[in-house]
Symmetry: D2
Subunit: 213 residues, 4 copies
């Protein structure tokens, strides 16, 4: 949104949270139902999943803590809520439904946290905060979908809880380009840093080279 | 965003949460600093404040519980956080600073809750939930600013906590039109109903007429 | 604790929260592992489970919303936390372990909420608040175990979130009598009302008679 | 409670959370009203305040982050809640009331966080979690009053949020000895480590000697 940038700059928005000392990776809702354009997918989500495979490898190679979220509702619909009032189809994402499983390319490994949630945020009604706190994490690299939905909500809560949220831009997908771009703009101005995977990798590779010298 | 609407409709987004049985009014961050284009204001915020005067009268006449939020940081900056890392100027909003006071036209009356917060959401780090719960509120009419910042965050949390969030569209302001429109779109699709004040008033006036017959 | 009562009375503690307009029933951690003295059980827990069968019947007959909690940890221990640092044996309570299942006499029916948690409180890291809020519940009758552990924590959070917590005293069990009594005392003074099931039943039966006249 | 200890030991309770890498000090509700036996004080609270003076000096000398809590209610009582339903006298603790001020011997210094709260826990409805998270704190030494009220609630929440809670036993006070002892027992078994100040000091002094060699 080029027209808006000047207003935000003049008012002092858009500073950087920066990369801290202890990173973790959070992958939001990359499940089959959001990879499928016939369900909740579409747009640039396939490309974002593909890019996240490399990001996940990178994180595992550095032994970063990895957490992944799924939307999971009860088989009997007993936990239907105000979010499913807006989007009733989400109730199809249950513990055992195919649509609710994490996509095979990003399947979690033992020790990685699988967060079951029923609202957009990875933090609401979950134990993500204590899991990060106990590991003294201060920086959260965030991939997943959708940019305008569960990433936006998770980034807001990551910021509120005191973590440095960094959206890995090419690992974030949305079913429609307008909301994707609009939400990257909002997050970059107000709650997160934005960084493509190449920049994340360059930061750590550069640090590794400096340490080796 | 006309191009996107079809995708969301096809995937079953955008259903209504509806007006419930017990409404309250939440006015977000209509303080002097956000009314001032030289600080954090601009755009359609003046018009939104003017429209909210009528909405507040309406709510008081019906004895709805009314809560208003302010951003309030400590004089010594001891509670600076990840939000002020992105927007350092917000630290100027202190308990006694003029910029941090609610605009005179919307000054709270005794018994109305003034919520002090340090993040975008009216719910994070505050006692808004218990205040609403103890009053058995199920519907939250939301006015304030900015649509793309503190309203978006508050609406997300209202929805997550099980309240029906209804954004009163002409009582919501933002410093820039693009983010205002983009966030109304997102909220209408995923977490809130959108309704101008006239429609809110018509709903209750119509109910009152029906009850009188 | 007879000696202490005078101090609390003189300082104005121990007032009543009262029974409100919209009750729900919360049954905390009555799972096989807590019914078994060889695991985490003992004391008066068997009697409390037996008394809760009647309470659950009573609640269902009046169509109160019913929620039940279980401690559930991941099979790979990825969500071990500071609570399991104190009590490592709790990690045996997994989704499919026999010890982690709700006791057969209190098995949940469709539509009743089963809350999976990993800390003492039924509220922490769960969606219990939105589930209650959406139903406009204001009063929470609480049964379960242990009085000094998960009931105490759940009652504190129920009170903090604005609900009226009422511990049904003969439906609350603990592995040891000292902590059971000490925690009833604390809760009665500071955060909950205490009431045996007979008194709960008498209240509603009396109301029903009054309404019938 | 000597009789109970065996049961807890047999069931695997009472392990240690241990001292981590990054400590902070939390002082709970040492305000004039709780130092005054005519209001909410009495018992061993004066001794606990005196002991905390040394603990606070110790923490400041090591530049630990320091947070202190106060109960603060609105002058108009608009934020009365379920806790004040049980203990109405707490509403006298307002922003400017003498009873609500931190005792002079423990007055906060610039940069120390003063947490205003309206429920027992230092975490509920406050920004304590993000303040600790942003500083990568993993260990929380806890002093204050009362052991059976606001310390118990704060320790439960510290544990739930993933911090290692350590109650500094001689810096924790209560108006009555029975609840003081009973709550130390519960916390030591289930959510915190218990340590007199001398043991805390010895731990760090011993570490300092080891580092100097």
């Amino acid at each position: 949104m080029p027209g808006e940038t000047e207003i935000y700059e003049a008012q002092g928005f858009g500073n950087s949270v920066g990369i801290g000392d202890a990173p973790a990776l959070l992958i939001v809702d990359f499940v089959n139902g959001f990879a499928d354009p016939e369900m909740f997918g579409g747009g640039n989500i396939p490309e974002a999943i593909a890019a996240t495979v490399a990001l996940l490898d990178f994180a595992r190679a550095r032994t970063w803590p990895v957490a992944m979220t799924r939307m999971v509702f009860a088989d009997d619909g007993s936990d239907a809520n105000m979010f499913t009032a807006k989007v009733p189809g989400l109730l199809a994402l249950t513990e055992t439904s195919i649509a609710g499983q994490i996509v095979p390319d990003l399947a979690p490994m033992p020790g990685e946290l699988v967060v079951r949630k029923r609202t957009p945020s990875a933090f609401f009604g979950t134990d993500l905060v204590p899991w990060l706190t106990a590991r003294r994490i201060d920086t959260l690299f965030i991939a997943g979908c959708t940019t305008s939905g569960c990433i936006r909500a998770s980034v807001l809560d990551a910021n509120a809880h005191g973590f440095r949220p960094i959206v890995v831009t090419d690992c974030a997908g949305d079913r429609a380009p307008g909301p994707h771009e609009a939400n990257l703009f909002d997050m970059g101005q107000k709650c997160a840093d934005l960084m493509p995977f190449a920049e994340v990798a360059a930061h750590y590779d550069s640090n590794a080279r400096a340490a080796a010298q």
